[in-house]
Symmetry: C2
DNA sequence: GCATGCTAATTGTCCTGGACATTTATGTCA
DNA sequence: TGACATAAATGTCCAGGACAATTAGCATGC
């Protein structure tokens, strides 16, 4: 397969490059044609062979594109410049408080102490309470991890471990709440193509303590099935989560379609990093770019229901 | 986008078809060229527009291919014949016991009673114990659900709900075990491209009660990071899970590469439906096509360690 | 000065049709 | 029967063209 001259895969074929970078084969070939980057070597058979540093740069570019930058400029930067761009973003955002909890947790993560990490998470969760933990600790932590990863200070598997442990911690905490009934009934899932489920867990963690009844379908539910599920479970709110990498185009389209197919009485919420990049306003869709917005939205929904109840 | 003449998407573009069927754009076009199926219509712009029944048939074909059949024959069948082929497989497999627990659970699933389902799962789990539940109840249940889905008796969202609830139930049960230390240290994850994490949870559910220390990285860890994680966490066993749909080719290659990069002392286990289709023997890789095999493998590993300990 | 609308540049996805590597099936010979 | 060679089946890659959608830049008017 990998007909690379030396033993282990220092060169990646286009499929692997696609997997590693999240950029489609079409895009990889197109950039090569248009920008002259990447410029992979070829094997005996004329097929592209991407070098590891090339892939690293592609990954950095993808990451910056996910927060709204354009590829045309980025391809001309060196990997260092790209990292600098990433770092600039960090400073702009956080850092007003100085090193804190998330710093410790990242350190724990880097020491590969799975048990310690699990304990630290459980600890923070207990001390702050589920909602505050999700609102105040998790987002900066995720940001810190994302940026550390981009600077090469963190390996992918460390990020994976963190996500996994966080899921376990949140799930455990959510389960501690009684979940027989509750109102409103919220159906939570993601669109096909979106495989990050942490966001779902986080909304759930915010809403369940408020007495909502959350039904999570996990990730990647086809549109048509979201509709069916909403009807079958008599959901009053459908909540979707989108990570930064999700294509805005696909999301807007999907949300519009879903809005058309859902009964008007059912609210449609969209949250997650991606929603920051949405320009168009989508009628009948509530965008929730900030996590705290989910709580506000719940409050709003309840007020509206009450008002409607009084009015009728 | 979907420039379909009528309002809601009864026609899918090739991207959607890819998502819905799991068949790549390349394959969809290739089959059209070679077999004359699928034969999507075209929009004003000459782009393919797949009809829903067409996609359903493609899905059925994919499903049968995942258990080893060849596409060349399958494309010529009608959807009914495909379903019949699927059913035949069911009868061959299960059914020696008559309708049982899984039947009830499927019924519960179809009634959209999330809470009831959750209770039923927790109930069964408590009654049977974690390991027996995973060994005896979960596999037939999954099979029943898969087949019901294929016969169109179950919607995708119902399958999603089931998976999600099962994950919660298993996770909760696993957490009930103390997990400070333990031996051996097992690192569990899946290859990039494999997004089904239920298998991981199931191995974990089998091994943790035996006193093993499981570290799960979740799904889709790049090869290189699996290696790094194994070293960082001093894993003695690396366990991979592959669903039926995972391409054997990619798996064999990946396992061989990983085997080369991992210290020889670290055992490499591969489990899941896919492993049934592996022909080649992979030196240094233990294939575990049956769930119970994981327990046997653990026993074997311990015996070997003991023997080595005595020998030295 | 700022909103609005238009053109131009940017960017991603799809298309066709060809080439080829790999795997599976088939057949033949020992 | 088993090993090996050959043929059929199948998936992935390539090139380069076309085009739709988005964004940026700019001019016009209030």
């Amino acid at each position: 397969m990998n007909a690379s001259p030396d033993a282990s895969g220092v060169l990646l074929d286009i499929s692997s490059a696609e997997r590693e970078t999240g950029l489609s084969k079409d895009v990889l070939r197109m950039w090569e044609r248009r920008y002259g980057f990447p410029k992979p070597g070829r094997d005996d058979n004329g097929e592209r062979q991407y070098a590891v540093p090339e892939v690293a740069k592609l990954r950095a570019i993808k990451r910056l594109m996910d927060v709204g930058m354009r590829p045309g400029k980025l391809v001309r930067c060196t990997i260092e410049e790209l990292n600098a761009l990433g770092d600039r973003r960090v400073e702009r955002h956080g850092d007003e408080a100085g090193p804190t909890v998330e710093h410790d947790l990242v350190a724990l993560l880097r020491s590969h102490d799975a048990v310690g990490l699990q304990n630290a998470l459980a600890n923070g969760l207990m001390r702050q309470g589920l909602q505050r933990f999700v609102l105040e600790t998790v987002p900066p932590l995720n940001r810190a991890i994302g940026e550390a990863w981009m600077r090469g200070e963190l390996q992918i598997f460390e990020e994976h471990l963190h996500t996994e442990q966080l899921k376990v911690a949140l799930r455990t905490a959510i389960n501690a709440f009684p979940r027989q009934s509750g109102s409103p009934r919220v159906l939570a899932t993601t669109f096909p193509g979106e495989q990050h489920g942490l966001g779902l867990l986080m909304v759930e963690a915010l809403l369940v303590p408020e007495g909502a009844h959350c039904i999570s379908l996990g990730v990647q539910t086809p549109l048509e099935d979201i509709r069916r599920a909403a009807l079958a479970h008599r959901a009053e709110i459908v909540a979707l989560s989108f990570s930064a990498a999700f294509p805005v185009r696909q999301a807007s389209e999907g949300l519009a379609t879903l809005r058309r197919q859902l009964p008007p009485a059912v609210a449609l919420w969209a949250g997650g990093e991606m929603t920051r990049r949405v320009r168009r306003t989508l009628p009948g869709v509530l965008l929730i770019p900030e996590l705290a917005g989910a709580l506000a939205a719940l409050g709003g929904w309840r007020a509206q229901q009450a008002a409607a109840g009084v009015a009728t």
